[in-house]
């Protein structure tokens, strides 16, 4: 296997450009900027990993999020760094040739390849609701995970079951971590996840050779460590008690907090408020709609999107009471906590 440094040099990327790339990566991974040269050194020496991407019960939205970028960006560069040996939607091969490529990669890179999965896995009636080539998704996942170094569950369906799992869950959809117990599983939820969050996780693995620090839901702390609410630009209005009551009232026009219109920002861990969407243009709250909470488990079944957290099934009054009481202090402390987290991560690395 060639190193990443070799393949970058071969494609004419200067060391200065590579250093800049690593500075951006460091910022993306929420590490202190001072470690950028160390990241560059580690990354230049890293081997191009083999990646196998399996798509199960999904809508292809996760792949769309990753590949539909308007111009060559950081995420494309990172994608160029991996050897994507199998991906249904992107590969040219089909049928037996495609399956052969997967089996070949699994054999050659046994114990070393990364398995990326999007979509949930139906287990009802012996997994008959999801098959390809006569094999059930359940079997294909078990087979492919066997020799993987780690499994990355991309999107809320793979991470938590997502929409296929919504009540009454007719196919008995399961998440990757429901079925894979003997491998490290990293959840990268979101419907879809933000492209740079997906690639940031890969970059972290390449740089440090191991999986990033995870929270209780197995999500990387670097991207899911804070709530949408903590970083929301409408947060000052929440602190001042200024809320839009309907989507066309004075408060909505003035850009006030959408909490009472059902925004799930206070209980949703994701990076939308900082990284944003569509080349950094906006995110749901900025375009006037509350957060749906799509990176949290079972968001689809937790009551109306348009009911305030206190009345919806999101752990309700307790969470909200705490959020309201902490108020401004949380906002002011966010910077401190962010830095503290960086310090901790850098020490661990």
């Amino acid at each position: 296997m060639t190193t990443l440094g070799d393949s970058l040099a071969a494609s004419g990327v200067s060391r200065r450009a590579f250093l800049k790339f690593c500075t951006a990566l460091t910022s993306l991974m929420a590490l202190p900027p001072g470690v950028a040269p160390a990241v560059a050194q580690a990354l230049a020496a890293a081997k191009r990993p083999s990646v196998i991407w399996l798509s199960f019960q999904e809508c292809t939205g996760c792949t769309e999020s990753l590949t539909r970028t308007s111009a060559p960006t950081l995420e494309n560069l990172i994608l160029d760094l991996v050897s994507l040996d199998y991906h249904h939607t992107l590969q040219a091969a089909a049928g037996f040739a495609a399956e052969e490529a997967r089996e070949h990669a699994m054999k050659e890179f046994d114990g070393k390849y990364l398995l990326l999965v999007d979509g949930s896995i139906p287990v009802a009636d012996d997994g008959v609701y999801g098959t390809w080539g006569g094999e059930s998704f359940v079997d294909i996942l078990a087979q492919s995970a066997k020799g993987a170094a780690a499994v990355v569950a991309i999107g809320s369906c793979a991470a938590f079951g997502g929409l296929p799992k919504a009540n009454p869950n007719p196919t008995a959809a399961r998440s990757v971590s429901d079925l894979i117990k003997d491998k490290p599983v990293i959840n990268v939820p979101g419907c879809p996840p933000i492209a740079v969050v997906m690639t940031g996780v890969l970059a972290h693995y390449l740089t440090f050779g191991r999986i990033p620090e995870l929270d209780a839901q197995r999500r990387p702390v670097a991207f899911y460590g804070e709530t949408i609410h903590d970083r929301c630009y409408r947060r000052p209005f929440y602190d001042q008690g200024k809320f839009a009551k309907t989507f066309d009232d004075e408060g909505a026009r003035a850009g006030w907090c959408l909490y009472e219109l059902g925004c799930k920002g206070p209980t949703t861990h994701n990076a939308c408020a900082t990284i944003k969407w569509n080349a950094g243009t906006s995110f749901p709250i900025q375009s006037g709609h509350g957060c749906l909470g799509c990176s949290e488990p079972d968001f689809w079944d937790k009551g109306s999107f348009y009911k305030a957290l206190a009345t919806a099934d999101w752990g309700g009054a307790k969470t909200v009471g705490t959020a309201a009481a902490v108020g401004v202090a949380v906002g002011a402390a966010a910077a401190y906590l962010g830095r503290k987290r960086q310090d901790r991560i850098s020490k661990e690395e």
Binding site: V13, A17, T23, A24, P32, S70, A71, P72, G331, Q342
Partner: protein
């Protein structure tokens, strides 16, 4: 007066409000500059890791200003570098080829690394320069 004008839209951009975080940040920069002056230890702050509103950025830029050095670097997208009114305190903004900001830093050092020629590039430059000379002779 058109029909549109009768719609009472009044936009208050929350992004423009200053949060008060800039004062704390300026004190931190002073602390880092003190360390640089005393021990020659460089440091940097990732601005995107802090909850700064647009108003905060304006306040920060007004407080630090632009000093004697301004440079631009073209490496997988543009990077803008300038020294603030306080020598040793630099603002470095990296953009990708689409023009999006991918890193925004305050660096406290003699000169940001992006401005220095990396050893690997200079070795490569020597090879290429010699090849060019051979071709000329």
């Amino acid at each position: 007066m058109s029909a549109l004008d009768r719609i009472g839209v009044k936009v208050v951009a929350a992004e423009d409000l200053a949060t008060g975080n800039v004062s704390a940040l300026l004190h931190e920069i002073a602390g880092l500059l003190d360390t640089w002056v005393q021990k020659r230890e460089p440091a940097s702050i990732d601005l995107r890791s802090l909850p700064l509103s647009r108003g905060d950025y304006e306040e920060l830029e007004a407080a630090l200003g632009v000093g004697a050095v301004t440079a631009s670097v073209d490496a997988i997208g543009a990077s803008d570098v300038h020294e603030t009114r306080y020598p040793g305190v630099w603002r470095v903004t990296h953009r990708n080829e689409a023009g999006e900001v991918v890193a925004d830093l305050l660096e406290v050092c003699e000169a940001p690394a992006i401005l220095r020629a990396p050893t690997e590039d200079t070795a490569d430059a020597l090879t290429r320069l010699r090849e060019m000379l051979n071709y000329r002779c």
